[in-house]
Amino acid sequence: MSSSFLNVQGLRKSFGGHLVVLDDINFQMEAGERVVVIGPSGSGKSTLLRCVMGLEKIDHGRIELEGVRYIEADPKSTKDNFVNIPVRNKVGMVFQHYTLFPHLTVLGNLILAPMRARGESRSSSTERAMQLLTRLGLESKAGAFPGMLSGGQKQRVAIARALLLDPKIMLFDEVTSALDPELVTEVEGLMLELAEQKMSMMIVTHDMWFAKRIATRVIFSADGRIIEDAPPSKMFTNPAEPRTADFLKKVLHVETIS
């Protein structure tokens, strides 16, 4: 068990003590896997990712990365979990609403963490950042403020910002759902590129076509539990659970994805 790459054990999370959003989640993932989480609105998908990132105080359970426990519920403290910060820093996350810092330029956003948190020199971090921007075709935007970018560009910069910290695993929470339909492709394209490089990922998305293309494994969650966990070929064509089938039908307007 603890030899898994990512290992979530007995995770329980409630808001205000009574609204239980995640209820005894047990979940393992190997390096290089790309797990897409689907499920109805409010089913706790975002909360699951946020717990893995260490953004939420959990009620119960523990999370390990590469066999090292880095988050564990601390029943004594009402405010914080036990957190192993160096390990948590190996997890990267990108959010639905481009959370670029609006007062910094694109380059400033990219080099902030390497310089200020990792102690990398300005010249070396700038060099790495510019290389990455060039790969993404965004080198001309290095000096622009986020407010001047399109939504797709913002999300690609946000992904680049996370990548510059060399994460072991990336979490994506509906990174395209606030984008205009044509801008979606450029962001999804970048994620597919990362997939080719065998980046481990957990992805929440409502775009089932994309899910099918990128996932090595799909999880359907509802009411705070994992209802079904299957490879995409199985999940989208022949789901085992009636609730999964029901949900897919609603979201797709078609019976199955061929």
């Binding site: 990267g92 810092f101 948190a117 910002r161």
Partner: protein, 223 residues
């Protein structure tokens, strides 16, 4: 009314008026510096301080927002020194009152700005592994200040205007000088109109700067 005669009359009193304006700006500037500092500290305490401290600063803010500045001035001039049994200079009492008043109103502006920096930005800081020693000075503080600037500037205008009240405790600010000249010469129209104009020109320019800043700078950053 003869304009040239009026201007000549005003010219005779240029010294008194400029002394008054100098004092007004002096009091306002000191009130701003101390008031903004108090305001920022108070807003941080209210956001994340010890519960007892929170009660204290909240009471302070409520008192200064809930009573007229005039009574605050009288109180700090004539009550506090007697209660404490120490001498407090007039300028000290004036600046103390204006600072505490400014602190109370600007703490609200800072608080709103701190709130407006959504939880999302804080989450992003965690996701990037930024410790507090990095996220506070490089992410939270600059955004708070940028966002708070418009309301803080209008608070500055408010303080500048409220500072006219110090004339009521005999501080020789612009208002006091204007009133003195009006009283002594029995020609209130010229002098009070001129006084009002001086206040207007300064306050109006600052409000223009505020909207320029909001429209230009803030809009560009889409804060």
């Amino acid at each position: 009314m003869d304009i040239t005669a009026a201007l000549g009359f005003l010219w005779d009193y240029r010294l008194a008026l400029s002394v008054g304006l100098g004092n007004t700006l002096h009091f306002t500037a000191l009130g701003l510096v101390f008031g903004l500092t108090i305001g920022f500290v108070v807003s941080v305490v209210r956001q994340a301080g010890h519960p007892v401290l929170k009660v204290i600063v909240t009471t302070y803010v409520e008192i200064f927002r809930g009573t007229p500045v005039l009574i605050q001035l009288f109180w700090f001039f004539f009550c506090l020194p007697a209660i404490l049994g120490v001498e407090l200079g007039n300028v000290f009492s004036t600046v103390l009152t204006l600072s505490l008043y400014m602190g109370a109103i600007s703490s609200e502006s800072f608080r709103a700005a701190l709130k407006a920096i959504g939880a999302e930005q804080r989450d992003a800081c965690v996701a990037l592994g930024l410790p507090a020693r990095v996220s506070v000075p490089y992410v939270i503080l600059p955004q708070t200040v940028l966002r708070a600037v418009p309301t803080l500037l209008s608070n500055c205008v408010t303080l500048f205007k409220e500072s006219a009240l110090v004339s009521a405790v005999g501080m020789a600010d612009l208002m006091y000088q204007g009133q003195m000249i009006a009283d002594a010469t029995a020609r209130p129209i010229e002098i009070l109109t001129a006084t009002a104009l001086i206040y207007f020109v300064i306050a109006f320019s600052v409000t223009r700067i505020v909207s320029f800043y909001e429209r230009g700078y803030l809009a560009r950053m889409r804060l």
